[in-house]
Symmetry: C2
Subunit: 359 residues, 2 copies
């Protein structure tokens, strides 16, 4: 089994949601321009950036719905699942402000783009603050739109409220995780628990667990045992995703990633690679790591040297194996979730895809 079935599922999801996505924004762009040029431009930029994602989160919401839908039609879940993509795009805009990143998904980040726009418009505020401020505004709109999609969906009011309560719970955890991430970036003497906690709450949890619980909830899941199993499965999927994210951040290809390789290193992020390197590095390797981690002036040569150290120390192999162990652990849960052969294959293929993906 490889990731190709999941890849095809994602491709199909992207095709079936793209028109819905663009239709949604047609009205939003129009309404925004009616209020003013800047709201209009911001909405267009959001739409453009939000469109080119992997749409992995939305697809997982649909997949979880399919697992538990019984005889329900799945035509309602597809438009509704776009809420995950709107939410994700809003969060990325905020994340880019906080990390001061210039590039996202191959585009200029929104705060950078509108910093330039502010310079053109000769705004009163500093162009930097202007870019940050208007990017903050449109990120908020992303959250409100994701709510709108859920609330205007064709599910029953009870289902919407149940899903909304799940959404709120995980969004508050996510945003605390995000604050924690900013706080511990570059901090010394962090425990493994702190680091894992941040990675999970700020990213892994909302990437897999949140959409799967939303999909399951909208499908009307009531079986507590199955809910526990889908939670475990989503955790395995989320950790595999997160591990590969850390790996791609150092070992990926810039063109595929749509952002500079090595930026985690430059920003001093506490990735799993860095955590395990610090456990097994020689004193010389450790000195090099501490010198480069969070150093904004590191060169491509430094990144290459760091990659070598990660490999030589065994940290890379350890983390890679850890990722695959989550894939294996996840596989054991599948028979408890469904007896449908197609869905079983899909669930397995998604696990593998997490570690196979190159972007």
């Amino acid at each position: 089994m490889n990731g190709s079935i999941a890849k095809a599922y994602l491709k199909n999801y992207i095709i079936s949601t793209d028109t819905l996505y663009l239709d949604f924004f047609k009205d939003k762009v129009k309404e925004a321009y009616e209020l003013g040029a800047i709201p209009g431009e911001l909405t267009e930029s959001f739409c453009e950036m939000g469109r080119v994602g992997k749409r992995f989160r939305g697809a997982l919401m649909v997949l979880a719905f399919e697992l538990f839908r019984n005889d329900k039609d799945s035509s309602d879940i597809i438009p509704t699942s776009l809420l995950m993509e709107l939410l994700h795009a809003g969060l990325l805009i905020q994340d880019d402000i906080m990390d001061n990143d210039p590039i996202r998904r191959g585009f200029q980040t929104l705060h950078t783009k509108f910093e330039q726009r502010g310079r053109e418009l000769e705004v009163k505020a500093s162009p930097k603050l202007f870019g940050t401020s208007v990017a903050m505004c449109i990120a908020d709109a992303g959250f409100y739109w994701s709510w709108e999609v859920l609330m205007k969906s064709s599910f029953s009011a009870e289902s919407k409220v149940a899903a909304a309560n799940i959404l709120n719970h995980y969004l508050v955890r996510l945003i605390h995780g995000q604050a924690l991430d900013v706080a511990i970036t570059g901090a010394k003497d962090l425990s493994e628990k702190d680091i894992l906690n941040v990675i999970w709450t700020k990213s892994g949890e909302y990437t897999t667990l949140l959409p799967m619980l939303l999909g399951a909830s909208l499908a009307g899941i009531t079986d507590e045992n199955k809910l526990a199993v889908i939670t475990e499965y989503a955790k395995c999927l989320g950790w595999a995703f997160q591990i590969q994210d850390d790996i791609l951040g150092m070992f990926g290809e810039q063109e595929e990633m749509g952002k500079p390789v090595g930026s985690d290193l430059r920003e001093g992020k506490n990735t799993l690679l860095i955590l395990h390197l610090s456990k097994r590095a020689t004193p010389e390797q450790l000195t090099f790591m501490k010198e480069k981690l969070g150093n904004p002036d590191i060169t491509q040569t430094d990144v290459e040297a760091m990659k070598q150290i990660l490999k030589d120390s065994g940290a890379y192999e350890y983390v890679l194996n850890l990722g695959w162990s989550y894939v294996e652990q996840g596989k054991t849960l599948i028979p408890k979730l469904t007896t449908d052969a197609r869905l079983q294959e899909l669930l397995e293929s998604f696990l593998v895809l997490m570690m196979e993906r190159t972007k």
Copy 2:
């Protein structure tokens, strides 16, 4: 009729919601500290700042509910109305980042407070970016909490969804208005329409119209005519509020306001006072205004001189009268809303309070 009945209503609302507010945050603070020290501190700071507001928006939500509740118990609306206060606190945190304001409600603004905290913690990011980032996070939490309050309230699922759709609609408009405000601050040759548009969408609308529509919706209003009248009433109330806001921003007392008087001038905000001054100022007054508007170095003497110019030119009196004209216009709508003498008095007193208030 003066504002005292409304003032007493607000005081009573504050008393009856304060324990609810603190209880809500008891759990939130605990959960946040479980994730980490910074999320915990942020939640405490949010709670502290959010607690000392006028709670005007929450009270208006209750008032509108009372107008249309028929025989419904109003015990559900009081805890639910806190959503407006949570939302408002989140928006203030964002607004303070965008305006780079140091003081709010007598407290250090959150991004300023955590900039200092970042310095103490020797965070890797610049303390300024750290403060901004974690303040952004907790502002988001404020939005999610406001959703939580609505979704976990004891209203029917249908009522929650209907209220949620109103909330979304106005929040998107608000955030576009906020972006527009940042964009036009200090811009030249603005039309009166642009300025009024910004003031209304970014502030007036969500201060009065949003909470009143939420309260009316949760009360189950169905009468389209009454909905149109409450909308008109809320507009009068909102414009009176906004006009007094602009007046207090220049003529208020710093201790009452909890923020520096003259900051609108320093930031170059397009207030109604400035708009009407630009229409009736002498060439000398206009030169002075242009020199000082948006000048970060203006002194207290400049602020005093500006106040004199606003009075001499007639702009102050014009805007003041405009505010009172909204009060009068609003009064004419009251008999169409209710025949209950107590509620009629309250509605009138609220209009007057908007212009009488000193903070």
